[in-house]
Amino acid sequence: MKILIKCCVKNDLAFHTFKFNIYDLNNNLIISSKTDKYGCYTCDLPKKLYKIVIYSKNLIPNRMVGILNKEINTFCFIKNDSIVVTLTDSNYSGLKIGRGKIMLWQNHM
């Protein structure tokens, strides 16, 4: 079966190339390659079902596991924007905190 692997990035017009590995159902590595700059790759595979692991840089997720079971297989990533966090002393306005850590815990409420 000829299949198309298409990796896209939501809300991003930039080109991205993705490395990926294709495994059979026994976890044997069949193909280790990368997409073109448009995020596409085509190949012929004899069976109807394979597993694929796609690796990305600076995207979410940075490792996606999926199934190849049709002619066109689309995998969508999310652009990973960085935020800038500032930390200052509440009693001395503007005084920067030299070193520390801030933890953000996802609130599922």
């Binding site: 960085s82 500032t86 509440s90 005084l95 815990w105």
Partner: protein
């Protein structure tokens, strides 16, 4: 529970790639009251990439100013100090020494180990004593600490007044320095 995003703060800021969503915030800052992090929750949303947090401390730094820099020395009343960073930029209101010569900075960080440096400088004395206006620093290992500071009496200076047209001819009179 999922792992949190950990943002390393260096010199007041840090960057991290974070998914949009609502997060509870905690802090790990040596010397500060980590429970005081504000805001305690944040909504990370598309189009907004800058988020500001504040934190406070509970230590007390007393600067005791005397003529000799000794605990029992003559106190200097009316000397002013201000918190700064390492470069000398000032933060907060100036603090003035009281009748006992004490200028008290509240809400400063302290920690038994890895206490952050606290920078400050003297901006004025009482008008009758010398003072060092360079940026100083210290760190508090306990919640309250006193530092002795010297504001010495002015050194005696020798002033000469001579005739401009007759070299070394001394002149009697008064000079006023304003």
């Amino acid at each position: 529970m999922a792992k949190p995003y950990v943002i390393n703060i260096v010199n007041g800021s840090g960057t991290e790639s974070i998914l949009n969503g609502t997060y509870n915030v905690s802090a790990n800052v040596s010397g500060y009251n980590n429970e005081s992090i504000s805001p305690s929750s944040v909504n990370v949303q598309a189009g907004t990439n800058n988020y500001a947090f504040q934190i406070s401390a509970t230590g007390t730094l007393t600067l005791h100013v005397t003529e000799t820099g000794e605990a029992g020395g003559t106190p200097i009343v009316g000397a002013t100090f201000v918190r700064t960073d390492a470069s000398g930029t000032t933060y907060g209101n100036p603090i003035t020494t009281d009748s006992e010569g004490n200028a008290v900075f509240n809400n400063v960080p302290f920690a038994a180990t890895n206490a952050p440096l606290i920078y400050y400088k003297q901006t004025a004395s009482d008008g009758e004593h010398e003072f060092d206006d360079n940026v100083q620093n210290t760190s508090l290992t306990t919640d309250s600490q006193t530092i002795q500071i010297t504001n010495a009496t002015p050194a005696s200076r020798t002033i000469t007044l001579t005739d401009a047209n007759y070299a070394n001819l001394p002149i009697d009179g008064e000079l006023t320095l304003n």
